[in-house]
């Protein structure tokens, strides 16, 4: 209360003077404009975070979307659907903005027609998948963990294989994407050393990256 008695500080005084000069209505206008802009901005962000937006581009619809429709993240007993942005767009404000900026690259490649035929898509698929693997590895599969909290895994209910692998793997410092590649789409070529096929595909090292010691320490 006694703050009122104090003379306004320099900054406040200048601000008051500015308000008097520009007129309060303009300030209110600016404020409302800001609100409107922020609203529109957020609406745009929301709009571009819908599945319908993603598959608005046939490049996204004809390959990855069709494949994803056969997976557990599209239809499952719980009726919870993971949509494209759930896995591909970070929820946190900062990383989300960065991902959205990167996505303008997709618009460029849309115009360039980089993946506008199945042939071109398949030729580029390995590269695109590697980007996503790297991104998820770097964030310790943050988007997966938004929905799946491994601290809440009930190993008593999980399948034999899941419970075994989760307990050993996660302790070693592995992350979801290390073991769960191809969870929503068909995989690109992977070199599994079966005869002469896929020798150009993802190498064993890329497909099952070794755990870095550093990561293992951080988990403990």
């Amino acid at each position: 209360m006694d703050k009122h008695q104090q003379p306004p500080s320099g900054l406040l005084r200048r601000l008051l003077a500015w308000v008097k000069k520009t007129g309060p209505w303009l300030i209110v206008g600016l404020f409302l404009g800001g609100v409107l802009f922020w609203g529109a901005f957020n609406t745009a962000m929301e709009y571009t975070n819908r599945e319908a937006f993603c598959i608005g581009c046939h490049e996204m619809q004809e390959n990855v979307y069709v494949e994803y429709q056969n997976t557990v993240h599209y239809s499952n007993r719980s009726g919870v659907r993971a949509t494209c942005p759930d896995c591909h767009v970070p929820k946190e404000w900062g990383p989300k903005m960065i991902r959205k900026l990167q996505a303008s690259n997709e618009v460029l490649h849309k115009i360039l027609g980089s993946i506008d035929t199945p042939e071109k898509f398949n030729a580029k698929r390995l590269e695109l998948a590697k980007h996503e693997w790297e991104r998820m590895k770097k964030t310790d599969s943050r988007e997966c963990r938004n929905c799946h909290n491994f601290e809440s895994f009930d190993y008593g209910v999980q399948g034999r294989r899941s419970a075994n692998m989760h307990q050993t793997g996660l302790n070693e410092g592995k992350t979801c994407i290390d073991c769960h590649k191809g969870i929503a789409h068909r995989l690109p070529e992977v070199n599994q050393s079966i005869g002469e096929i896929n020798t150009e595909g993802a190498t064993p090292r890329e497909f099952h990256p070794p755990v870095e010691k550093k990561d293992a320490e951080a988990v403990k």
């Binding site: 399948g159 692998m165 079966i194 595909g201």
Partner: protein, 154 residues
Amino acid sequence: MKNPSRLFSATLFAVFVASSLFVAPAIGAAESGLKSLRGAEIQAPDTESADPFKGTKDSAPIERNYLQQPPIIPHKIDGYNITIKYNKCMDCHAWSRYKESGATKVSLTHFKTRDGQELSNISPRRYFCVQCHVPQADAKPLVGNRFKAAEGLR
């Protein structure tokens, strides 16, 4: 319009386009009920059929009933694709992977080609695992039978 016949054909065309716009959906609707050759209605199911293999629980390896039996798959295989680009089964069952995944390594017999040549990994004729290996569903036998496991394996 200088040419009445052109006006006439233009009108005709417009009427044709307009009518096809209205009529086409009606035709589509009338023909949506597909019929079999014997005239029975064919209705695509709205929901996925109950797949008895869905929700198979993982279990310990299932005992074999006779020699040379391809072992039953003791775990779920929903979404395990085998394509020319990637063989999901081999991601766990390959000799280079089984230690990490805890899976049974593929049988050595799977490395032999049709001509008896030994390869260093599965031979093409064994590439499609689910040709021979299947998960077990808890389904009642369609007809009664007296099948018993081979003597040496009982």
